[in-house]
Symmetry: D2
Amino acid sequence: MAIAEFTIIPIGTATTSLSGYVADLHKELERHEDIRFQMTPMGTILEGPLDRLFEVIRAVHEVPFLHGAARVSTSIKIDDRRDKHASMEQKMQSVADKL
Amino acid sequence: MAIAEFTIIPIGTATTSLSGYVADLHKELERHEDIRFQMTPMGTILEGPLDRLFEVIRAVHEVPFLHGAARVSTSIKIDDRRDKHASMEQKMQSVADKL
Amino acid sequence: MAIAEFTIIPIGTATTSLSGYVADLHKELERHEDIRFQMTPMGTILEGPLDRLFEVIRAVHEVPFLHGAARVSTSIKIDDRRDKHASMEQKMQSVADKL
Amino acid sequence: MAIAEFTIIPIGTATTSLSGYVADLHKELERHEDIRFQMTPMGTILEGPLDRLFEVIRAVHEVPFLHGAARVSTSIKIDDRRDKHASMEQKMQSVADKL
């Protein structure tokens, strides 16, 4: 199990609003029921088996093209810890415990 | 007003746990009372005047060095929209409205 | 064809030097002969079919674990342009032409 | 001395080409003669005192707005190593020495 965050930006959209694109990504994510996700004001965080995270991000990267974009910039950050199980909640809790 | 996200990783820490470092960042952030922040499982999101965001991120980048780190990797993403006010909540709400 | 950049950071390595890990990534990349790559002082840039880029980055992400790392932070940026062919050289040339 | 990489993407530009924006950034960078920089197909790498890097990135972030952009996404990665001097060339050489 790993945790990843991605941000997908369509380029050349003629509008500064991206919320429609983000809503489309959200719908695609809901189709992948084995993967937990959480949207933030700056991206989307996923938790699941690493190979599945790669597959799901590959799938959502395609979404803006299906809605008319001709160029997409996708940034991804993966946190892959294998010495202990680290869920999204456990990471937050570890910090809270230290505060 | 802009929104930014940062992730700070100390390198060469001898331990895979970073929650102590993240807790230290949190304490530094609380000193900057004019800046709103929200921690996520993958980073910290800030909202405020752009120049202040740069100053605050510069300050938190220093924190791991004060606690013994000798090398730090900091990644920052800024979303700066000037045609309308976009708070963290408004960005989330715009997506929710489309769903 | 798309262009991607990745940076892989092992966490908890007890040393601030990462060049040994980067050299290991380099060796893995050389095994994927269909993918062009270019190292920079801040990461590695790849060019090739998008699905192959995902596969290759998935493979190099595994390398630090094979050499003892227990936690790895990988960041990836993909530039996927489909309205025209954009190689690494063409992107650089387009900017040079404007200067 | 630290090393940083940044990528600046204007959003809502109506064109998928960004090379004109990148050329503008380049001209701004040349005004900061104390900072070394190197363009890559995926961003721009800077080397210099950390506080100056923050100032210069703050300045180049402003450039697309001066040329009509209303929203800009800027991503930054900082590699700040304080146990030894690490220039762009030394980082590359350290990897080459291991290969």
